[in-house]
Amino acid sequence: MIPQTFEYKKAQTIDEALALLREHGDEAKVLAGGHSLIPLMKLRLSTPELLIDIGGIQELSEIREQDGRIELGALVTHRTIEFSELLKQKCPVLPEAAAQIGDPQVRNKGTIGGSLAHADPAADYPAVVLALDAEIEATGPDGRRTIPVRDFFQGLFTTALRPGELLTRVRVPVMPPRSGAAYLKFPNPASRYAVVGVAAFVKLAPDDTCAEVRIGITGAAAAAFRATEAEKRLVGKTIDDRTLTAALEDMVDPDDLLSDLAATAEYRAHLCHVLTRRALRQAFERAHG
């Protein structure tokens, strides 16, 4: 497990990191927690000439609440999220998902920014940030911009980040009153990545019907996605067996899903259905408090 020879540079600030990216372009890879990149390098599936280590950029390691949102720096680790009191109170589905990533060693090192920018189709966060309708902050040579998360995941390991840009922050909304969310994962028994992972968000109207529903699905397709058709069918409905059966029917097309050693597309479609049903029920119960 020996990677190809590479140069290593440590950036102390976002500007330093951007300058290095500008200078080295395609030859460089950004290193955060390293828990996706380093294994690929050891297997020589990724052979960057330069690693730009952003791990020391202090301002990207913070979680703070601002204007009804919680802002997480790209370098916040899964473990920090898992144990964050602020998130447990204001957006508990994120710690719930973080606790299901990898193992303690991975969670101690891996970062939310790294995971989102890597866009592994079976990572856990994408489903959750989609269901939360989060925002991604990217910083590039022309300054900062905000990318709605629904536009962020574009394909297999492909995001809306532009060359030379760094994912710097993620903003998730504080859970509004009478809302609930849940993340359920059907793990690959070997890798423990999601064969299918479903995050559901439900906000109730005063009459206990669904005012807002969002369903984020990871693992099933080349990129995480929202089950928008099913979401629409549930608005104005209560969550019970009948409405779920009607709303989730054909919620995904197996032709759009992955088929691999872990599961065929047909089975993945079935899991999407089962996990969505279960996640919506949990989210609905939580919304009721």
């Binding site: 497990m1 020996i2 190809q4 020879t5 297997l43 059907f186 690959n188 028994p189 070997a190 890798s191 990545y193 691999d260 050693l261 872990a262 599961a263 065929t264 089975y267 079935h270 899991l271 089962v274």
Partner: protein
């Protein structure tokens, strides 16, 4: 003072302190002055002709010392890796060179070795070795390989057939099945497994030109055998000029029994270069280069009379041997499999036919249980399914067929003579521990609530304590299977024990020390167990097949008897009495009926300072023994598992696992329990999680890393409930049978039986292993469970 009764005591393993504090010394921990590092260039193709290998660029890479190919080794007279087991006179034994010469035959087959000052340089330069391959069609499935027109793996083996082997009475079995009241038939795959010892294999060749001596450090389960094969067969150098050291070894499960190409490559290249050469596998290399296990395609039929008594068993198996014959490969799906097909039952007629087949896959050889889990799977799946089909309780059907305690020794129709057993006793104990009838009630109630609970049984037998050498010879093993021991008592009364077995996780340093301390009445701390270095230990056969205690422990016991006999002579002289007037108790020779005594320590000192000493007796107190067992040992047991299947996703949760094992006399119950736990975990792994998958057209190993190959983890398993029954082995001095493989042998069938039990009312008779959620989900819907990847 009463000496401690060490035998039977649950003593913590003395070796664990160094292991858990990171102070173990594994092959890869060893750094020798001037050491070089080898990286092996492996074939990316399953089957290809090597047109040319260009090594110039790699040679010029900074730090590279040499690049060798298979041709270099062949030209230097290096021989083929030999096979240690012959199955019939017509068995095909195509050559297996450490590095492929003209053709590569599986993904991972070595083609060249790059040797450099650093591992990184060797790794980088390996990418500069240019191999010109002419790709050939490949075949990975053994049944496909037998078909007309299949790609030919070896010219020497037409039709890819290595051998056809049969055992038992074909006609009598056919007749019994033709007239049976009921026949249960199953066609199934016992899938290929990848062992995954926690320590990847490693080897260091260290040639000393001054003394013309070669030392090979290797992560092996049997150093003496490696020395014999390497010196006499492969490198053709004098055996006494070779020393093999297997230091601490981090697990093997059988995969480290065999003589591997990398051992030859490191040894030979060190001789060429005059410097030590080390190779250590990376995990993805272990996946393709460690011998795999299992990989059978089987059709089996079991016939019953009207009362549910077994009348006959017919088994047809195609065994995938991989691309080359690994050291003991031919014997595993034959003698270690077919002879166990009687299980615990009175089966009057058995006939088994096995075809050993070459394919373009990693060689297959013994893996924990080796043949016996496969046999148990055949018998226990059939019995369980038959009970369902005949509307009988699975425990009851087994009861009707058990060999009874008063029927031993029991001659099976497939060679073995079981020496002892109480099968019903073990089953009853397991049923009691699990509260079986209450479980059946709960299962019924759960089903009414839409929950799918299943209960599985597995009553296994194994043949361990390998093996009586005469029998080994008769069944084609090209070695004796006795074991050796030497006991060296030091002048201070401390004792060194040299064993020909090899501990790679079994805890021999504790168990063997317990035997010695118990028998000599000395503290455990006064005993040191030494193994793994051919320069220190007597010629022994290593560790596999749960043989170490039954054969190695018995050899130690025999050597102890000699030590005690000589000590008695010295004691009689010192105490001026006749030998028969002495009794040995609590570490002292005592003159019967008196308080006159001499301690073992004083005798030891006298032996080495023989100033006042028996006339004609040799000084010193050191004895050795070679123990050749009279028979195999036959551990057995009954396991029970409870599973719950998620009716929506097909996911199986193992709720309970009860294991009752009879491994004979137990020296250390804590170690035995640990062995059962580990074994069960691996057996559950095969049932639910593990399975090597090759791409059928390209021959690529698709499950080539831990990202895709699922090993069982703690959260996949319940807390095991372990019980014991002790029926001592009647023919070895310790009464021990062996415990290393029991769990693996029982658990796979046990868990599959439980899942099928949960789903039988839905029309499910069988599900292909591993029972992944998708397969179970498909089975519940009546869809086929093979033919798709997972």
């Amino acid at each position: 003072m009463e000496a401690r009764a060490y035998i039977g005591a649950p003593i913590r393993r003395v070796e664990d302190r160094r292991f858990v504090t990171g102070r173990g010394r594994y092959t890869d921990d060893i750094v020798l002055p001037g050491m070089l590092y080898a990286w092996i260039v492996r074939s990316p193709h399953a089957h290809a002709r090597i047109r040319a290998i260009r090594t110039e660029k790699a040679r010029q890479h900074p730090g590279v010392v040499a690049v060798f190919t298979g041709k270099d080794m062949l030209d230097d007279g290096v021989g083929s890796l030999p096979t240690g087991w012959q199955i019939g006179p017509d068995m095909k034994e195509p050559p297996h060179y450490a590095l492929a010469v003209d053709k590569v035959r599986y993904v991972g087959d070595g083609v060249a070795v790059v040797i450099a000052e650093t591992k990184a340089a060797a790794r980088d330069a390996a990418e500069l070795v240019e191999v010109d391959y002419e790709e050939l069609p490949a075949v990975v499935d053994a049944a496909e390989a037998l078909k007309e027109g299949a790609p030919l793996v070896h010219d020497e083996a037409p039709g890819n057939l290595c051998y056809v082997w049969e055992l038992g009475d074909r006609e009598a079995t056919d007749r019994a099945l033709a007239t049976a009241h009921h026949v249960t038939k199953l066609e199934f795959v016992n899938q290929r497994l990848i062992p995954n010892a926690i320590e990847p294999r490693s080897a260091i060749g260290h040639y000393d030109p001054g003394r013309d001596e070669l030392t090979l450090y290797t992560s092996s389960q049997n150093p003496h055998l490696i020395r014999l094969l390497l010196s006499a067969f492969v490198l053709k150098i004098p055996e006494h000029k070779v020393r093999v050291i297997s230091p601490d070894v981090g697990g093997g499960f059988g995969s480290k029994i065999f003589h591997y190409p990398e051992e030859v490559i490191c040894a030979w290249s060190s001789r060429k270069l005059g410097r030590p050469v080390k190779w250590t596998a990376v995990r993805s290399e272990s996946f393709v280069s460690d011998a795999h296990g299992r990989d059978h395609i089987t059709t089996a039929e079991m016939g019953f009379d009207r009362d549910g008594r077994i009348v006959g068993l017919r088994v047809r198996t195609i065994a995938n041997l991989g691309a080359y014959l690994s050291t003991f490969a031919p014997g595993v799906p034959t003698w270690l499999y077919g002879t166990l097909l009687a299980g615990q039952y009175k089966t009057p007629h058995i006939h088994v036919e096995v075809k050993g087949v070459f394919t373009n896959t990693t060689p297959v050889d013994a893996y924990r249980g080796a043949g016996r889990p496969e046999a148990t799977y055949v018998v226990e799946r059939l019995v369980d399914l038959a009970a369902h089909e005949m509307g009988l309780d699975p425990a009851e059907l087994r009861r009707r067929n058990f060999i009874q305690p008063d029927e031993f020794p029991y001659q099976t129709p497939v060679v073995l003579q079981y020496d002892s057993g109480n099968y019903e006793g073990a089953l009853n104990k397991a049923l009691e521990m699990a509260d079986y009838w209450k479980l059946r009630e709960e299962q019924k109630r759960a089903r009414e609530q839409g929950r799918l609970i299943g209960i599985g049984l597995s009553c296994y037998i194994e043949a361990c304590g390998l093996a009586p050498s005469k029998v080994a010879g008769a069944i084609g093993v090209r070695a004796g299977l006795y074991e050796s021991a030497a006991i060296r008592v030091l002048p201070t009364g401390k004792v060194q024990v040299f064993t020909g077995t090899h501990s790679h996780g079994q805890g021999h340093e504790t168990t063997f020390a317990q035997i010695v301390a118990h028998e000599l009445g000395i503290p455990l701390e006064d005993v040191e167990v030494i193994h793994g270095d051919t320069a220190e230990i007597p010629f022994g056969m290593g560790t596999y097949g749960s043989r170490s205690l039954a054969t190695g422990g018995s050899a130690i016991y025999r050597a102890l008897e000699k030590v005690k006999a000589k000590a008695r002579k010295i004691a009689a002289h010192k105490l001026e009495v006749a030998e028969e007037d002495l009794e040995f108790r609590n570490g002292q020779f005592i003159v019967k009926g008196t308080d006159r005594a001499i301690s073992f320590g004083d005798i030891a000192l006298t032996a080495y300072v023989p100033h006042d000493y028996p006339e004609g007796l040799e000084p010193g107190l050191e004895e050795n023994a070679f123990y050749d067992p009279a028979n195999f040992t036959f551990p057995f047991g009954a396991h029970l598992s409870v599973v719950e299947v998620d009716p929506e996703t097909g996911r199986v949760k193992l709720l309970r696992y009860v294991a009752v094992d009879d491994v004979g006399r137990i020296i250390n119950p804590m170690i035995v329990e640990g062995q059962i736990h580990g074994g069960v975990a691996q057996g559950v792994g095969q049932a639910l999680l593990e399975g090597a998958i090759y791409d059928r057209s390209s021959g690529q190993l698709l499950t080539g890393s831990l990202l895709d190959y699922a090993l069982p983890r703690a959260d996949d398993l319940p807390s095991f409930e372990v019980g014991h029954q002790e029926t001592p082995c009647p023919h070895n001095p310790l009464g021990a049978k062996g415990a290393g493989e029991a769990g693996t042998i029982a658990a796979t069938a046990c868990v599959v039986n439980a899942v099928v039990d949960a789903l039988y009312h839905l029309g499910v008779r069988d599900i292909r292993m591993p029972l992944t959620p998708e397969r179970v989900w498909r089975a519940m819907r009546g869809l086929p469970t093979d033919g798709h990847a997972s």
